[in-house]
């Protein structure tokens, strides 16, 4: 029974994994999205225009560039830091309010800490939403399950 379940799970995992992680990652990029493409020779930044056959088209600062899929080693996308901001805010808010309550207030540290998690998470998420950062969506040298699924 355990062997059958394990085999089923293994097969499901294999089936869900895209055949070409690079093509799958590129097929999930939205038009106009800022991206950074690392190839063997150079790193290119621009906005995603489209992809066709095995070519990625992006609009650089002054010219349109066509990059062959086979040259691409890594792809980073510019996205908001909302998720990171939220997590950092929850940790900082929770610890700060719990510590403040523990240092001599009427409110219990647990309740104060829980409130801090909510308030800190919200404030952190709002601040993070206004900041953008690079997210790696494809790395030729990364293990198969680490960089592809980014949506």
């Amino acid at each position: 029974m355990i062997v059958a379940v394990s085999l089923f799970l293994l097969c499901s995992t294999v089936a869900a994994e895209p055949l070409d992680r690079r093509a799958d990652a590129i097929d999930r990029i939205l038009p106009g999205q800022a991206l950074r493409v690392h190839s063997l020779e150079r790193t290119t930044e621009g906005r995603f225009v489209t992809n066709r056959a095995d070519t990625l088209l992006l609009q650089g600062a002054s010219e349109r560039l066509a990059l062959s899929y086979s040259d691409i080693q890594r792809i980073d996308l510019r996205r908001t830091a909302r998720h990171h901001g939220m997590v950092i805010g929850m940790i900082v808010g929770g610890i700060s309010l719990a510590a403040a309550a523990a240092s001599g207030h009427d409110v219990g540290p647990v309740i104060a800490g829980a409130s801090g998690v909510f308030i800190g998470g919200f404030v952190g998420g709002v601040i993070g939403g206004a900041i953008s950062e690079w997210h790696r969506v494809y790395d030729a040298h990364a293990p198969a399950d680490s960089a592809s699924r980014h949506h």
Binding site: T50, N51, F122, G125
Partner: protein, 153 residues
Amino acid sequence: MPIPRTTRYLGVILLVSTLAGCSSLSRAPLSPDPSYESQMLAGSSGLAIEGYSSPEGVFHAFQGKAHWVGAGRDSLELRGRRKPAVPGAEASGDPEDKQPVTLRLARSDVTTLLYRANDPSKTGVLGLGIVTALLFSGTVLLFIAIVLSEGTD
């Protein structure tokens, strides 16, 4: 006490706009694997889409529903309205439809679909914001209650 009609409408508008704000545009390759998009395409109601891309790399804006048709899912049927361009993409040259149209495309003519997907981080921030607002209002109400009780003593 019955809720006034205006308040009900405002509540519905607020709820709809809040839920709409928690989604973001996504793009996924059209594949026969058991992915979320593929399951939605196979469903009776179909997948609500904002557009699709062709093998030539052209983004076509299409607001409507898409679902598989034909034996072996060899075609895709789109019902809705065409628009001139997908936001951020170059204009496709498609006309803007006033009335809903039905398009039937071979699977090989569609490489990716654009659709609105739930954005967990947006939803998370919104949820935390609601709880924060409740915490603040609760604290203010508690403070007012304490002040009032001290005033009556």
